[in-house]
């Protein structure tokens, strides 16, 4: 095919160096002022959202801590109330319950649903101090004798058990 003389091709050849200066159409320029403002707004929203999220987590944590303190106070009150129980069997039942619940909360041992021998075996596996271990063993065994064998221990033993449990729950 013979192209021959074409004036349009000639013009294109002459203007070729100018092609470097060709700018994109106006619609394609994003960095206009409103676009920058929009970016700033999005950025600040993200920062604010992250900040408030962390703040609510802090609040949740402090609420949990508060409820733990309240619970601890409640347990201490229960212990004080237990001191007033006259019936020996009932006294040891309540004391044993408070102590086992404390062990459950502190060491995540299934202490409320386990017999004493199992609690003692499980406590030997966790990082309980030797003193704590001995006190728990002694209190639970005494309580078991009072609850299940009808043993009567008297006032002195009652007080010792009360003090021991108080010591553990401090």
């Amino acid at each position: 095919m013979n192209i021959g003389y074409n004036p349009e091709i000639l013009v294109a050849a002459e203007t070729a160096p100018l092609l470097r200066d060709i700018k994109p159409p106006k619609e394609m320029i994003y960095l206009e002022w409103w676009f920058i403002v929009l970016l700033i707004l999005i950025f600040s929203t993200v920062i604010l959202f992250t900040f408030y999220r962390n703040k609510s987590r802090f609040t949740e944590k402090s609420e949990i801590a508060d409820s733990a303190v309240t619970e601890q106070r409640g347990h201490s009150n229960e212990l004080k109330d237990a001191k007033e129980i006259q019936d020996e069997k009932e006294y040891y039942r309540v004391i044993s319950y408070i102590l086992r619940r404390h062990i459950k909360d502190k060491y995540q041992i299934n202490a409320l649903e386990s017999p004493t021998t199992m609690i003692i075996a499980d406590m030997a596996k966790v990082d309980a101090s030797n003193d704590e271990f001995k006190i728990v063993q002694s209190v639970l065994n005494t309580a078991d004798m009072a609850k299940f064998a009808g043993a009567a221990f008297g006032k002195k033993e009652r007080e010792r058990v009360y003090e021991d449990v108080g010591l553990i729950m401090k």
Binding site: R93, E113, P115, T116
Partner: protein, 327 residues
């Protein structure tokens, strides 16, 4: 208080017998200490036992040894599809010389009975045995005979073969106090079994006690103290297996029928026997837990979905004990 003191004295006195009995059985039965304890619990709490396990795990030997130790009669009855009730309890035979009928007592007339592969005999034979177990007496013709005490039946079942067997109905299985599952011994225990059993000289066991002494032990066990707190604990466990009375321990969806009141009775009596073996005159929660699997596993009927999903009664009992609060 005096009575309690007496019980403590009796427990101390008989405790050495229990230890000697256990040691003597251990000469022959190796690596099955828990099973030995459960069989003794069954014997002391007037129960009957069903044992499930593979052949060759010394089930017969265990009961035979026990009979030698307590110097009592022992009969092994192999249950087969052609066994008749008369083969078990006895029959009346005509004597031509005297022209009278006389009673020929069957093998059930012994203190310790091993009903081997109980599920191989038809229902009428099974029910004859179970009736004798329950009533502790046998009627042949128009004569009723009391069975000698102590009377204990230990029935065996093979868990793998179901062809040609007659499955025991739940109501009849319920009459067994304990269902014991016997497993294979450990590597070391089996090594010891080879050492002891291949010498060509049989292992001789000594007689430790008498049937009368076993009856006295049963009396002591009856007098073991069970506190109201323990009774309520047992009831909480048993009621948690029942859909209607469930206290929401999360296993009820898997259970079609819960444990019967026999479970409550047997949990109490076996807990007493366990306390006695452990030299205590009172029951503790650990005594209840000690035989809970054996008392409950054949009394809980699973739903079809649970069985299809591979849920076992032992698994449910374990979950139950993790949920029910100890007093």
């Amino acid at each position: 208080m005096k009575k309690k003191k007496d019980i403590n004295a009796h427990i101390t006195e008989h405790n050495s017998i229990i230890k000697r009995m256990t040691d003597e059985i251990k000469k022959v039965i190796i690596g099955q200490d828990a099973i030995i304890e459960k069989v003794l619990i069954g014997l002391f709490s007037k129960g009957h036992i069903i044992i499930e396990g593979m052949p060759g795990l010394a089930k017969t030997l265990l009961l035979k040894t026990l009979s030698q130790i307590i110097h009592t009669s022992f009969n092994r009855i192999q249950f087969t599809p052609d066994l008749l009730p008369a083969d078990l309890i006895g029959t009346r035979i005509y004597d031509r010389r005297t022209g009278k009928f006389y009673t020929r007592k069957g093998p059930i007339f012994a203190n310790l009975i091993l009903a081997d592969e109980i599920n191989r005999a038809p229902a009428k034979v099974q029910s004859a045995l179970l009736e004798a177990m329950e009533e502790k007496q046998v009627t042949i013709g128009d004569e009723t005979f009391k069975l000698d005490e102590p009377f204990m039946v230990m029935a065996t079942q093979n868990p793998i073969e179901s062809e040609g067997t007659y499955r025991l109905p739940e109501a009849q299985v319920d009459r067994f106090m304990l269902k014991i599952k016997i497993g294979y011994p450990s590597f070391d225990d089996e090594h010891e079994i080879i050492n002891r059993m291949t010498t060509g000289r049989g292992i001789k066991v000594k007689t430790i006690t008498t049937p009368d002494e076993i009856l006295r032990i049963r009396e002591i066990v009856d007098n073991i103290y069970v506190d109201e707190l323990i009774k309520k604990y047992i009831l909480n466990i048993v009621f948690a297996t029942r859909k209607m009375g469930s206290n929401g321990v999360g296993i009820e969806e898997h259970i079609e029928y819960g444990a019967s009141p026999r479970a409550s009775i047997y949990l109490t009596t076996t807990a007493k026997a366990h306390a006695f073996i452990n030299s205590r005159s009172h029951v503790m929660p650990e005594d209840v837990a000690a035989t809970a699997f054996e008392v409950l596993r054949h009394r809980i009927i699973l739903t079809y979905e649970a069985e299809a999903g591979g849920v076992s009664t032992d698994e449910l009992i374990k979950r139950l004990f993790e949920k029910v609060e100890v007093p």
